[in-house]
């Protein structure tokens, strides 16, 4: 299959593969924690990109899948005693099922109405979980320390979780690429550009956009489980941070929506920027305001994001900037 000869795919894939490898070789705890955060956001932003970049449906509630899937996966680890990798899969599957249910209701809406509905979903999910006793209500759940014994102690468990996340993010990149290169992906682009025309041309839009939503929701469930397992606890305010939904969106836009490399570069750039802003005395309380400002500027002046902008300027590099 000559699809595998695309340098653009390998560039994105190897960036993450080698980045993770370096962290594993150096074995420093701080580096691992930083890399964990970046990988997590790359995974979240890339999965959001499948719905937002490919299909054109702006989702302000992507973090719902991270929260609900993560909660469920964590529940499977801490209350049911599942190993973390199976629990993470469980979290992903739950997220996908929830996407199927939410999608049936909100994917009928288009444009701004869809975006508004997704904000509502986030708040509803938080309210639900805060009052759901099996998930510990508003105090959340804690993992029993003995759960780490299975992996040879807490320190090993953290490294193990990191490796799992690394693999999940590589999977997100591979899946994103396969979707983009497939007939299904072409149909999604058609839906993004003009849904009615796409349907007249034979694209089964209701089915295909639901599929895109499902794929986009599956990965945050996996990532959420790993994140909360690493933290050792989960609570509603941590799981359903609307602010995180916004930040993921900015990452996608900053790097370039609809591109494989876009969310990856966007995450790196945003994380660097946020790191700087949070420790700077002037901006530390303003970093969200600045994110909003960045988003506004991108939407107005560089709708293709950083990678999209480069692609337009340097046609020779296009093959690499998929």
């Amino acid at each position: 299959m000559n699809a595998w000869r695309q340098p653009g795919f390998w560039f994105s894939f190897l960036l993450i593969f080698l980045g993770g490898l370096v962290v594993l070789v150096l074995r420093q705890d701080t580096l691992r924690e930083n890399a964990f955060t970046i990988l997590m956001f790359i995974g979240l932003a890339s999965s959001l990109n499948i719905l937002m970049g490919y299909t054109g449906y702006v989702n302000f509630g992507h973090i719902v899948f991270f929260g609900l899937g993560g909660y469920f996966g964590f529940f499977l680890v801490s209350e049911m005693g599942w190993p973390v990798y199976l629990a993470a899969l469980g979290g992903g599957v739950l997220s996908a099922i929830i996407a199927l249910i939410i999608g049936a209701a909100v994917l009928r809406l288009r444009g701004a109405y869809f975006a508004l509905a997704t904000i509502g979903v986030n708040e509803a999910a938080r309210a639900f979980v805060s009052n759901f006793e099996p998930f510990g209500g508003s105090t959340g759940l804690f993992v029993n320390f003995s759960a780490y014994d299975r992996y040879g102690g807490a320190a090993h468990a953290l490294w193990f979780t990191f490796i799992l996340l690394w693999l999940v993010v590589l999977a997100v990149v591979v899946v994103s690429y396969l979707v983009k290169r497939s007939r299904f992906g072409l149909g999604l682009s058609a839906i993004r550009e003009d849904e009615d025309t796409a349907m007249v041309m034979g694209v089964n839009a209701p089915r295909d956009k639901t599929k895109a939503f499902l794929i986009s929701a599956f990965f945050p469930g996996l990532i959420g489980t790993l994140y909360f397992f690493k933290n050792g606890n989960v609570e509603p305010d941590d799981a359903f941070r609307f602010q995180m939904s916004l930040e993921i969106l900015v990452m996608v836009m900053l790097g370039g929506k609809g591109l494989l490399l876009g969310p990856i570069i966007g995450t790196f750039a945003y994380e660097r920027l946020r790191g700087y802003l949070i420790i700077s005395p002037i901006f530390k309380n303003l970093h969200l305001a600045l994110s909003g400002g960045i988003l506004l500027l991108i939407v107005l002046f560089v709708p293709g994001g950083a990678v999209g902008w480069l692609r337009d300027r340097l046609p020779k590099l296009r093959r690499w900037l998929e």
Binding site: R183, G187, T197, M199, M201, G202
Partner: protein, 247 residues
Amino acid sequence: MILQVKEVSIRFGGLQALSDVSFELSPGEIMGLIGPNGAGKTTLFNVINGVYPPTSGEVVFRDEKITGLPSYEVARRGLARAHQVVRPLNDLTVRENVMVGACFGRERHSRGAAAAVAEQALAQVGLRDRAEQMAGNLNVAQKKRLELARALAAHPYLLLLDEVLAGLNPSEITEMVETGRRIRDEGITILMIEHVMQAVMSVSDRIIVLDYGQLIAGGKPEEVASNPQVIEAYLGDPEMTAKLMAE
């Protein structure tokens, strides 16, 4: 019969857009659909290809009732359409636009095969050297060709052309009419809405005329042109009447 439209009516609130429209189309035919602005021509297309379900009546395509099917199901059965208002998928290349037609039309090609089909369709309409360009950057005449190429790439049995000649200059019209004939020679049946009378009169085997949502005449181009009811329908537009009379 490749297409049978049986007593189709559609009502939007207080507006009766089509009332009891019936006609048949045999394979290999080019049929012109004419009528004054607002007569319901585009609405009729929308009913045929499933954008709107009719209020009553039915549409039969290749012996299968397709009334009420969503438009993507209709497209899959081999009915393609070029829009009046061009609707290119702007952020895709010209080739990708045409590939969408090949991938999701009647033959449902894989993406690899679709590229080859697209190449052929682009050659048919003379857009091959623009394949890599973004569709949004084409000019109007090129966009019209793209609409046609996209519809052709689906390898349809029946092609609905909605004013593909509007906005083109005379030499472009001549080229487009030639393309139309070639398409028919490949065995594709065509139903076309057209305002450029000379073109529609010369290319059509039969013509039907719609006025205020009703079919008021049908037959060979010369019969239709001399039909008093048709002339009357166009009288609001003296220039058009003169053109019709001159044929």
